[in-house]
């Protein structure tokens, strides 16, 4: 079948197709203008901005503390690390100390959120390839994580949990046991998921050697997080630019190995995320073991927050290095705030990587880069 389609390649006729902005498999409101010759794409030009909510501009209009709920909206699939990035940047700017217990709670919630975010990423990726079942399986697991996060902060998606100087609430009674019970439950689910889809012959055949991104190219385009590691670059902000209590945790950084194809192919980007699940579960367990030794204080709210200067905080979100750069001029509001996000860079590489792909594989490419529309546009 592939040969038949490829035989039509040299018609020489170019057709321009519009995909999106309302399209079920573009992971949000994203538009592509696709130039194709038969089934082969000349290129897919991304058109972004449909979800631009001027979040950086809002940051200039409200106080440092008041901006926290807006950071949830930077990436609503993985909001906790955005909370963390903002808190970290402002704390660095103002020279604030954070209670150790808060650091643990931040990391536990970050990692739980990373797990739920990867659930969406991997489930949706399988669905985009045509496998519906894994999505329903893994969304059930995400539901449990949402319940756990709801117990600690009252929200299921936009948490507003981290605070400048700590976190909003301590863990509720019995929460730790529920999280540990879920960790025990999730361990076999990951193996089940591997049997269900990761090593599925059709899935591998679709994704192996597809849209290979080399290490140098990934760095040049500014890819971060799992997309960068899938290309063989051994870098994780949590380990290499340590923040919070990550230095106290033992974890590995999964790097793409090209097990079924080439290093940096779409399957590697899938596989790295699936491995990160395991690391995140291990980190949550370690945090819950260590948190008992901390003092009960969880929030040292700053009395007067009018910092001057600039600060940059890097956080490893589910979509990689989410950095927050904040400039203060002595007022109660930030003078300028900037979020750099993984999806923005991932989106920029699609035009380059789409050349020569089949139209159907564009969806696989988008899914493998795990772009989330609000994170591109902010």
């Amino acid at each position: 079948m592939g040969e038949l389609i490829l035989a039509n390649e040299t018609t020489g006729e170019e057709m321009v197709l519009n995909m999106g902005p309302q399209h079920p498999s573009t992971h949000g409101v994203i538009r592509f203008v696709i130039k194709t010759d038969g089934e082969i794409m000349r290129e897919a030009v991304p058109d972004v901005g449909y979800l631009h909510r001027a979040i950086e501009h809002i940051a200039e209009k409200c106080t440092y503390e008041g901006f926290m709920p807006y950071t949830d909206r930077v990436d609503y699939v993985c909001a906790m690390p955005a909370n963390h990035a903002w808190a970290l940047a402002v704390e660095k700017l103002a020279g604030l100390e954070v209670p150790e217990r808060a650091e643990y709670l931040r990391v536990i919630t970050d990692e739980l959120n990373r797990i739920s975010s990867h659930c969406v990423a991997l489930g949706a990726m399988a669905m985009d390839i045509g496998a519906i079942t894994p999505f329903t399986y893994i969304l059930r697991e995400r539901e449990y994580v949402n319940e756990l996060l709801e117990m600690i902060c009252g929200a299921r998606l936009t948490y507003n949990y981290h605070r400048i100087g700590g976190v909003g609430w301590d863990m509720p009674a019995g929460w730790r046991d529920k999280v540990l019970a879920w960790c025990d439950h999730f361990a076999p689910v990951m193996d089940e998921f591997d049997r269900l889809i990761t090593n599925n012959a059709l899935f591998v055949a679709r994704l192996a050697n597809l849209a290979v991104i080399g290490a140098a190219e990934a760095i040049d385009f500014g890819l971060v997080g799992p997309n960068l590691r899938a290309s063989g670059v051994d870098f994780d902000v949590r380990r290499d630019v340590p923040y919070s209590i990550y230095p106290k945790l033992r974890f590995e950084v999964p790097v793409g190995r090209g097990i079924v194809g080439t290093v940096g192919d779409a399957w590697d980007r899938y596989w790295v995320r699936a491995q990160e699940w395991r690391q995140s579960v291990a980190m949550v367990r370690q945090c819950l073991e260590q948190i008992d030794a901390t003092e009960p204080e969880f929030w040292r709210a700053p009395k007067k927050l009018k910092p001057v200067g600039d600060a940059m905080a890097r956080v490893e979100a589910a979509r990689g290095d989410m950095s927050c750069y904040v400039v203060g001029d002595g007022g109660a509001n930030a003078y300028r705030a900037r979020f750099r996000t993984g999806s923005f860079n991932a989106m920029a590489i699609i035009r380059e990587k789409s050349r020569g792909l089949m139209v159907a594989d564009l969806v696989a490419l988008i899914a493998s880069l795990d772009v989330v529309a609000p994170e591109i546009d902010r």
Binding site: V48, G49, H52, A54, E56, H57, L88, K92, A216, I219, D220, F221, G222, V233, F235, D240, V241, P242, Y243, S244, I245, P247, D310, M312, A313, R314, D321, S323, Y325, V327, Y335, R336, R338, R340, F344, N345, M347, A348, D377, R378
Partner: protein
Amino acid sequence: MTAAADEVVRVRADEWRATAERLRAEGFDFLQNLTAVDWIKDERIELVYHLWSYARRAGCVVKIDVPRAQPEAPSVASVWRAADWYEREQFDLLGVVFAGHPDLRRILMPDDWPGHPMRKDYVEATSYRGMPTTRANTLELLPIWDKSRGETKPDGAK
């Protein structure tokens, strides 16, 4: 617990292109971030480039001042390809022109949007393509709404 602060280098706009190439050759292979800050009182726009070297595991911050009336800096999209979209974004939101950029179009705002919204003196037009950009508080449409109450206040505020 955070890593040590990165080194900050101030560069003149006309030297930036050559400096960028040198920094890239020295191993700063990742253009992590680009921010433009509008210092309206000083009549300047500050461009802040955050660079990172994966080999050295170290960062470097480059700051460039450009005049606010005519903000122009050389594009480094051919040095780091990540700069392509970053520069488009800062052009879109703050109106900084990056000379030599291959495709300097707006990226987040519509192509025909007037003005650059992240400028400190930006005033939004009252309508865009015939659509109003502001709307009345829906409470004011209620027949029982007492106009003398003035602005709505947050819960609990007296």
